[in-house]
């Protein structure tokens, strides 16, 4: 894969004509595009010769690009699936996962909804095709929306990482969604929930308004629930947080490694926080991951030459 990097660098050189610039191609998750753009801009000040080119297109696109070797880093808001890893290996690519931040998902309801807490089981009852919860009264909530209390189920379009993550966590592997109103962004989910009192929706944590409320979440019925907050996610207490990761072909090397290390440094993690995501816990890497078994590579990637000066320069 060093060959890939070299090829990438050569292509980049050919493209921009300046002999000493390096271009790192980063593609993937739309959830992570703004975050990575912020990283790219800040890193340009630290390492002016390295240009980080960020493209969205979705986790699927990112994964595809690492399989095709058209990107140096793939952004993914869900771990790669087994068939994707197989496809990569068939192409001689060994995907290497590095968690760079966490994203907390929140469940949104209208402020008039008296519901205060909900468990994953109840969410499953609402959202699964075979769940059976059609009315708010089925959940013991009394809510009236014009003589009717049918639950308006709002979700995301079927190729978003958020949709996939919600499905995996709440519906279980292979679970099927019922007919939700599929929106193409968390903002739209919140818009629908804010205009419909009987609606419920899910999405990233950064979209709370005066009209919509978070619901306190617990994994199982009867357990104490946790309100979504950066602190709760960082502490690993919030049940609905997912890792945001990047993939490289094999352990990162050279400029890629330097960039990855910088993202995990204090300067990089500050941008994570500014973008509304949750930083990766510092010292004992891998403790807060929970759901994700393969988080260890995060610290594997660290000890590479040239990384530390970059990280230090990043702190003003």
């Amino acid at each position: 894969m060093r060959l890939v990097l070299v090829t990438g660098v050569v292509l980049a050189l050919a493209a921009c004509g300046r002999s000493d610039d390096v271009v790192l191609q980063v593609k993937g998750s739309d959830t992570m595009v703004n975050l990575m753009q912020g990283m790219s801009e800040a890193y340009a000040k630290v390492e002016p010769k390295v240009i980080v080119a960020v493209t969205g297109g979705g986790t699927g696109t990112g994964v595809k690009s690492i399989i095709d070797r058209t990107a140096d880093l793939a952004m993914a808001s869900r771990p790669m699936k087994a068939p994707e890893i197989e496809a990569a290996r068939r192409n001689g690519v060994e995907p290497h996962e590095i968690v760079i931040a966490y994203d907390g998902l929140a469940v949104y309801i209208h402020r008039d909804n008296p519901l205060r807490q909900i468990s994953f089981e109840k969410l499953r009852c609402i959202y699964a095709a075979d769940g059976g919860c059609q009315r708010w009264s089925d959940l013991g909530v009394s809510l009236d929306c014009g003589g009717d209390d049918t639950i308006i189920k709002v979700g995301r379009q079927n190729n978003s990482g958020t949709y996939e993550y919600f499905r995996e966590e709440v519906l279980g592997r292979g679970g099927k969604f019922t007919n939700t109103m599929d929106q193409s962004g968390t903002q739209q989910v919140v818009d629908v929930v804010s205009t419909s009192r009987c609606a419920i929706g899910y999405g990233g944590m950064g979209y709370q308004t005066d009209v919509v409320r978070f619901v306190c979440l617990s994994r199982h019925e009867g357990e104490p629930c946790v309100e979504p907050s950066l602190e709760a996610v960082a502490a690993g207490k919030y049940p609905f947080a997912r890792p945001l990761q990047v993939y490289t072909d094999g352990p990162p090397q050279g400029h890629v490694a330097a960039f990855v290390d910088w993202m995990l440094s204090e300067a990089g993690q500050r941008i994570v926080l500014e973008s509304g995501f949750v930083p990766v816990p510092k010292a004992p890497a891998g403790t807060a991951t929970g759901a994700d078994a393969d988080a260890a590579p995060a610290d594997e990637a660290a000890p590479v030459e040239g990384a530390t000066p970059a990280a230090e320069e990043g702190q003003p």
Binding site: G58, G60, V63, N158, M181
Partner: protein, 303 residues
């Protein structure tokens, strides 16, 4: 004056081969422009067919026998029954609004309006046609959404919302084509009707409408073609839920909106990607058939 004719042929002959070549080149260019529409249509069919036809043929029965559209599941399911129903639900409902209003407006413009009023109204109707799709979608979200909720809908983004937006979007087409059809009826028909003592209503009902029947049908069919293919506005207004509607206020999802929402993240060449192209091919087929029928009806009118 008499000396002019001898000069003309000399002048024409003077610039030799070069101009003849230029002439031919320009002629060829113009011919190319003439057939370019055909080239584009064929190219579009070939391109979409290449990506989607294989999938459509392989999975046609599966697609047509299931309401589960879960293209990202493992194993995926590509049932499009709910999407087809959603599409025709919206289009059908929209016709309930657009046909009476559009053809009524056409009758008014052609038979009742003063020339001045007609000019003003035609300009306004044309302006209606110039409003971009995404603006209609915005109107659906911002204005119709709360309005329908006030009428008792649980969610304002639903099939009815999409249908009203579609009706407004197809209205200009219906009005102007309908008016053309009515005005194409010779005045002698009107005079004959009046001479026989027919009232205005009787003239319209028994003489003009039957005479303009085919033109009206063409207007409606082209409106249907437009409505089936409309994307952005229905994506925003219908609620985008894969759902077989049982009530006016149920959210639905259309074929076009599905392609628009999902193509961006479908892996190129993958099954989902090809399935979306198959949807595109199906849409192309539907609008092609509708337009063909309209065209045949138009020809029928002329004979």
């Amino acid at each position: 004056m008499n000396q002019d004719p001898p000069y003309v042929p000399i002048r024409l002959r003077q610039p030799p081969a070069v101009s003849r070549w230029a002439e031919r080149a320009i002629e060829a260019l113009i011919r190319l422009c003439g057939v370019s529409a055909m080239i584009f249509v064929v190219a579009i069919f070939v391109f979409i067919g290449r990506e989607g036809l294989g999938f459509l043929v392989e999975n046609f029965l599966g697609m047509m026998s299931s309401v589960d559209w879960n293209p990202t599941y493992e194993p995926p399911s590509f049932g499009i029954v709910a999407l087809l129903i959603g599409t025709f639900w919206c289009v059908g409902l929209s016709l309930l609004f657009s046909v009476p209003i559009g053809l009524g407006a056409a009758v008014y413009l052609s038979e009742f309006a003063s020339p001045r009023a007609r000019e003003v109204l035609k300009v306004v109707v044309e302006m209606l046609a110039a409003i971009p799709s995404v603006v209609w979608g915005f109107i659906g979200v911002m204005i119709l959404n709360p309005f329908l909720q006030a009428l008792g809908a649980q969610v304002g983004l639903n099939g009815l919302n999409g249908a009203i937006i579609l009706a407004l979007m197809t209205l200009p087409l219906l009005v102007s084509l309908g008016e053309d059809a009515l005005r194409a009826v010779p005045d002698s028909y009107r005079q004959a009707a009046v001479a026989m003592g027919a009232t205005r209503w009787e003239t319209i009902r028994y003489v003009l409408l039957p005479a303009a029947r085919r033109g009206m049908l063409v207007a409606v069919l082209l409106g249907v073609g437009r409505a089936v293919g409309e994307t952005m506005a229905v994506l925003m207004a219908t609620g985008h839920a894969v759902n077989v509607p049982t009530g006016l206020f149920d959210p639905v999802r259309t074929l076009t909106a599905t392609v628009a929402a999902e193509l961006g993240e479908a892996v190129r060449g993958g099954e989902h990607y090809r399935a979306l192209f198959a949807l595109g091919l199906l849409l192309l087929g539907i609008t092609f058939v509708v337009n063909l029928i309209a065209d045949l009806a138009m020809r029928g009118r002329r004979t």
